[in-house]
């Protein structure tokens, strides 16, 4: 082919002669030349086409290989990155705070971070804490300082907030009635000019930096007792600091990275976020020897009470023999702060989209949590169920480890619970003693998988049935005569006050004086005697050695039980049939133990301690132990106060159902 190629570099005249020579030579073979030319043209065209095609093919193949190499593996759901607010770039925040009788709101850079105009709700001082570097809301609280003691809670909270944070205050309705001097001084120390003079139905807004400048304050005095101050609206600007200044400089470890994440998001957890000597978030309690519950999953049922959850998880993770890998926290709703707490401790948390309302919601949350627990740990035969408002005893797992085999082997058992309904400071004594009871106390308990999967889960109350899960579990259709094992001294402590079913008074009366074991490694003494038949033998032995108390005395009086220690006493009360708890309820009332419904009984027998003596109460004649009653003794009958029969007995039952 090169023969055919003209040389473009040669000069024109030279080219011409060269060309003419060629022309002459080829003229002689015109036919051949023509053929060659045509052939060459065809060949060239084909080459070009083939070349183009080849290039296209190669390119497509290469392209496909690149694209397809992972095509099957693409995530179907495209994760659309939500553009984040460039808060960091901003140096100044616009803050608006409004205070009035019926409405408060706080807006930061045009975003409403607090709005409360509900009636009969949210009275008092609303406090918002902002991160001084990012402007994020770190805590939101309302202290009803119209009511007593709430100002103390506020002082406590404000003291926990780290220096440098931005604090926003606003009053809804009334916030001064029980705002005491101490609280006013704290507010004054934050830079408020008005706080010391806040009075009845004043409106007030304040924005300031803890330990630093004041960004603004507005106040409207109430003109008369019967009227409120005019609404006030405070508009101000807050200057942000750099992130470095807002953070502590802890050593860079995995734990501190968790801590940092937590502390830059939320406030109000005290020393966990203090720059100097922060409180540990890993506890490393002693392991248990021969721990039988190491592989038992622990479900923590939680709502939106992150401070409670924080306290609860601290105590749980400090208990000997705890296995953090088995702990799952189930949060009822898409709340962020409880999840932050869970992540702080490096645990796994699961959020549950709420369905249904009130009690049914709790009940559905329980079901979802239990189902998920057994799905996550399909090998587990048991699950420990805890709630976010419990303290966990240091020997909680030791207690379960020693007793869990009973739940596996004894079909007549319904659960093991860490809570003794009747275990108050003055009625519980022996940390190594266990009981069998016909009631299901909850508040830290162990559930057998087969019980849940075969019996409870399929017929769990549906959302439209507004039932309490625990009341439902206590119903005879579910319990089927089975019993729970409980300790004399509880291994959990119910500290929750602000619950769905709780109010302060109620907690004070029924939970505050509950006894809680703090002794580690308690060796339980009568575990084997808790099996169904052994327990009867044990009770008969106890009743055999028990001294019958003087039934002519008033059982409510302290002198009813002699001033001894370590003795066993028995008393007999009237109990016409199995469900007759008239006398027991009156006795429980005067002994200041749980009297809202019947708890802690075993075949008409109650076991507790009085003055450090074991104190047995037998209901005659319903209890099979009535035969132990000497014929000379007349069972004590206590009549419910006549007036209260109608007035109180009914609400008492209602209250019991709410618990």
């Amino acid at each position: 082919m090169d023969e055919w190629k003209p040389n473009p570099a040669v000069k024109p005249h030279k080219k011409r002669s060269w060309y003419l020579a060629w022309k002459y030579k080829l003229m002689n073979q015109r036919a051949l030349r023509k053929l060659c030319q045509t052939g060459a043209v065809l060949f060239l065209l084909v080459t070009v086409i083939v070349n183009i095609k080849l290039i296209l093919d190669t390119r497509r193949a290469a392209y496909e290989e690149e694209e397809e190499s992972a095509q099957d593996y693409d995530d179907e759901m495209l994760n659309v990155e939500v553009p984040r607010h460039p808060v960091n770039n901003k140096k100044v925040l616009d803050v608006e705070v409004y205070s009035s009788r019926s409405k408060v709101y706080v807006a930061v850079d045009g975003t409403t971070v607090l709005e409360d105009e509900a009636r009969e709700q949210g009275r008092g001082i609303h406090v918002i804490v902002l991160n001084q570097a990012t402007g994020h809301v770190m805590a939101k609280r309302v202290f009803d300082t119209y009511s007593p003691h709430e100002d103390e809670a506020m002082v406590l909270f404000l003291n926990m907030v780290a220096r440098g944070r931005i604090l926003i205050f606003t009053i809804k309705d009334e916030g001064s009635f029980h705002l005491k001097e101490t609280a006013k001084n704290v507010l004054k120390s934050l830079g408020s000019q008005v706080a010391p003079f806040l009075s009845w139905r004043d409106m007030w807004t304040f924005v300031g930096k803890k330990g630093g400048e004041v960004y603004g304050e507005k106040h409207a005095k109430s003109p008369a007792l019967s009227t409120w101050g005019d609404p006030v609206l405070l508009k101000t600007e807050v200057h942000l600091t750099s992130v470095e200044d807002a953070e502590c400089h802890w050593p860079d470890t995995e734990l501190n990275r968790r801590r940092k994440r937590f502390c830059s998001k939320v406030e109000g957890y005290g020393s966990v976020c203090s720059c100097k000597d922060p409180t540990p978030i890993e506890f490393n309690p002693d392991p248990l020897k021969d721990n039988k519950v190491f592989d038992v999953p622990v479900a923590v049922i939680a709502g939106n009470r992150p401070n409670y959850l924080y306290r609860m998880l601290r105590s749980l993770l400090s208990a000997q023999g705890v296995n953090p890998q088995m702990i799952t926290v189930f949060i009822d709703g898409y709340y962020e702060e409880p999840m932050d707490v869970v992540e702080l401790f490096g645990l796994s948390g699961i959020q549950h989209t709420p369905i249904s309302i009130k009690n049914a919601r709790v009940s559905q949350h329980y079901k979802a949590s239990l189902t998920a627990t057994f799905n996550l740990f399909p090998d587990a035969k048991f699950a420990v169920v805890l709630e976010e408002d419990l303290d966990i005893s240091v020997d909680f797992f030791s207690f379960l480890s020693q007793s869990i085999h009973l739940l596996e082997e004894d079909e007549s058992l319904y659960c093991i619970s860490a809570w003794n309904d009747q275990g108050y400071e003055h009625t519980a004594e022996d940390p190594s003693l266990l009981y069998r009871v016909e009631t299901m106390p909850g508040l830290g308990w162990v559930l057998r998988k087969s019980l849940y999967k075969d019996e409870l889960e399929p017929k769990w109350p549906t959302p439209e049935k507004l039932w309490d899960w625990d009341m439902w579990m206590r119903m005879p259709e579910q319990r089927k005569g089975r019993e729970c094992i409980i300790p004399d001294i509880s291994r959990s402590y119910h500290f929750g006050i602000v619950g769905l079913n709780m109010n302060g008074y109620f907690h004070e009366a029924y939970f505050k004086k509950h006894k809680f074991n703090t002794v580690p490694n308690v060796q339980l003494k009568n575990v084997e005697s808790l099996r169904k038949d052994n327990y009867e033998t044990e009770i008969h032995r106890l009743l055999g050695e028990a001294e019958v108390l003087d039934h002519s005395k008033n059982p409510c009086e302290d002198s009813f039980v002699p001033d001894t220690e370590g003795r066993v006493y028995v008393m007999f009360i009237k109990m016409e049939q199995e469900a007759d708890f008239t006398t027991w309820t009156q006795l429980a009332k005067c002994l200041h133990i749980w009297d809202l419904d019947v708890r802690g009984n075993h075949k008409g027998l109650w076991r507790l301690f009085r003055k450090k003596n074991h104190f047995l109460v037998v209901g005659v004649p319903a209890s099979p132990y009535s035969s132990k009653k000497p014929s000379s003794v007349t069972p004590i009958y206590m009549e419910p106060p006549a007036k209260e029969e109608g007035a109180v007995a009914v609400p008492a039952v209602a209250a019991a159902e709410q618990t």
């Binding site: 043209v41 290039i55 017929k459």
Partner: protein, 461 residues
């Protein structure tokens, strides 16, 4: 002039052709080098170097994970295939030095290991050490299917796959999770948007195209190519599982939507029936698995799984399908031994076989045998009083694993087609009156059994 033009044209053309040729050469070279750049060279010249690289990478990886006390086991189909050939020898001499690098040097892009999730803590230290050793790593996380269910739960995403890359070889670490139903599950490998699609040639991975279900394997510690690794005790049965491991998750979201439209029957009867159906299904699965007979959820039971992830309370029986090629004469005695007497037997092995066993309290276990044709699969039905035969046609299907009432069972992978064939396009609407002879949309008349065969093909107990 014309001639000059022609020659010029020719010259130009040949020039273009040359340019194209050159260009193509360059392009090809560039393309090759790009492939090399992906660290998976196919240059044959360095074969032996490549071989030992693989071995070294595997050794390094095993060192890494043992320094963190992470128990992994080998599930690489290629290597297990080679191991399986010499399994007797490997078993008998667990510590014997091997003469040549026979297994870990075999040409491949990946070595696949498995990790049981519950046997390790998700520690970050592992990855820091890995990086120090020169590994590049990729972690694939996704949502936890164990939280899927009738409740709307959302938890943290769980790790499903890890890939550790070093030099020209990569280790694929598949994380297995225990699921209720006593089996192991691994997730699909799906890359999120920001991930490097060229990190490794993902298409060549043996695991991850689909989620998979496996039995819990017994493990064996062996020494192959002077490396101590755990392998499944029976590699050949494991390899068989690999090829049929595809797992389908129940469609819980759709099931929730279904229950929004048609609230669940929470009556005591429904609860009782579900309980019995569940225990009957457990018993049937145990019996058939012991016999080694493959079965799947069929008819109403399959519909219940697909539509509502539960037993349909008004269905009143449990339906299973078995390919006729898997039929064993032991089936009937085995069920009888399990306490399920034969209720009726219709048809014969050659045609329209159907068995029915009596479970507890009127709950019936129906087993339909399926006959495969070139373009469809069918099973037969028989009307006892008339001897009429029916034929139910299904498009061809394959079998997938799923989890149903705490059981690992098969369902047709092409479930929608299967259900639609059986129940028509309106399968989403619950129907309480169902006639098996006329209601199914895939039923065909199939003649009548000859009267002299009746004694054999219509047996009622």
């Amino acid at each position: 002039m014309q001639k000059i033009n022609r020659n010029v044209v020719l010259a130009l053309l040949s020039l273009t052709s040359l340019v194209f040729l050159l260009f193509q050469l360059c392009y090809y070279k560039f393309y090759l080098s790009q492939k090399n750049g992906a660290a998976f060279s196919k240059v044959r010249g360095s074969q032996s170097g490549q071989d030992s690289t693989r071995w070294h990478v595997v050794r390094k990886f095993l060192g890494l994970i043992s320094s963190h006390n992470i128990p992994v086991y080998l599930i690489d189909p290629l290597i297990l295939g080679l191991v399986d050939k010499d399994i007797e020898q490997i078993r008998s001499s667990p510590d014997g030095p091997s003469p040549a690098c026979k297994y870990f040097c075999a040409p491949r892009d990946f070595t696949t290991f498995a990790l049981l999730d519950k046997t390790w803590k998700h520690e970050v230290g592992l990855f820091r050490t890995a990086e120090k050793m020169g590994f590049q790593w990729l972690k694939i996380i996704n949502k936890d299917p164990r939280l899927d269910g009738m409740d709307d739960l959302s938890g943290m995403e769980i790790p499903l796959h890890y890939i550790f890359k070093l030099a020209s070889h990569a280790i694929h670490l598949v994380v297995f999770y225990e699921r209720s139903g006593n089996f192991l599950w691994h997730g699909p490998l799906r890359l999120k948007q920001h991930m490097d699609r060229k990190f490794v040639p993902f298409r060549k991975l043996h695991f991850g195209r689909y989620p998979g279900a496996y039995e819990k394997p017994e493990l064996l510690l062996v020494s192959i190519d002077d490396l101590k690794v755990q392998i499944p005790k029976n590699p050949s049965s494991f390899l068989q599982e690999v090829s049929h491991s595809r797992f389908l998750e129940c469609r819980y979201r759709e099931a929730r939507a279904f229950f929004q439209l048609y609230p669940d029957d929470a009556s005591l009867d429904a609860v009782e029936f579900r309980k019995k159906a569940k225990s009957l299904l457990h018993l049937a699965a145990l019996t058939l698995n012991n016999l080694g007979v493959k079965f799947w959820l069929s008819s109403g039971t399959c519909l219940g799984w697909y539509r509502q992830c539960n037993v349909i309370p008004h269905s009143k029986d449990v339906d299973l399908g078995i390919f006729i090629r898997d039929y064993k004469a032991d089936i009937i005695p085995a069920f009888q031994k399990a306490g399920l007497p034969l209720k009726h037997k219709f048809g014969k092995v050659e045609d329209s076989l159907e068995l029915s066993f009596q479970g507890e309290d009127d709950v019936k276990l129906d087993i339909f045998f399926f006959y495969e044709e070139d373009d469809h699969i069918w099973n037969g039905g028989t009307q006892a009083k008339s001897g009429k035969k029916f034929k139910y046609l299904f498009p061809k299907f394959t079998l997938c694993w799923t989890e149903f009432v705490e059981l690992k069972v098969h369902v047709p992978c092409e479930t929608l087609q299967y259900v639609e064939a059986n129940y028509g396009p309106e399968w989403k609407v619950p129907v309480k009156t169902w006639d098996w002879k006329s209601s199914p949309s895939n039923v065909q008349d199939n003649g009548v059994w000859p009267v002299d065969e009746w004694d054999d093909v219509i047996q009622i107990y």
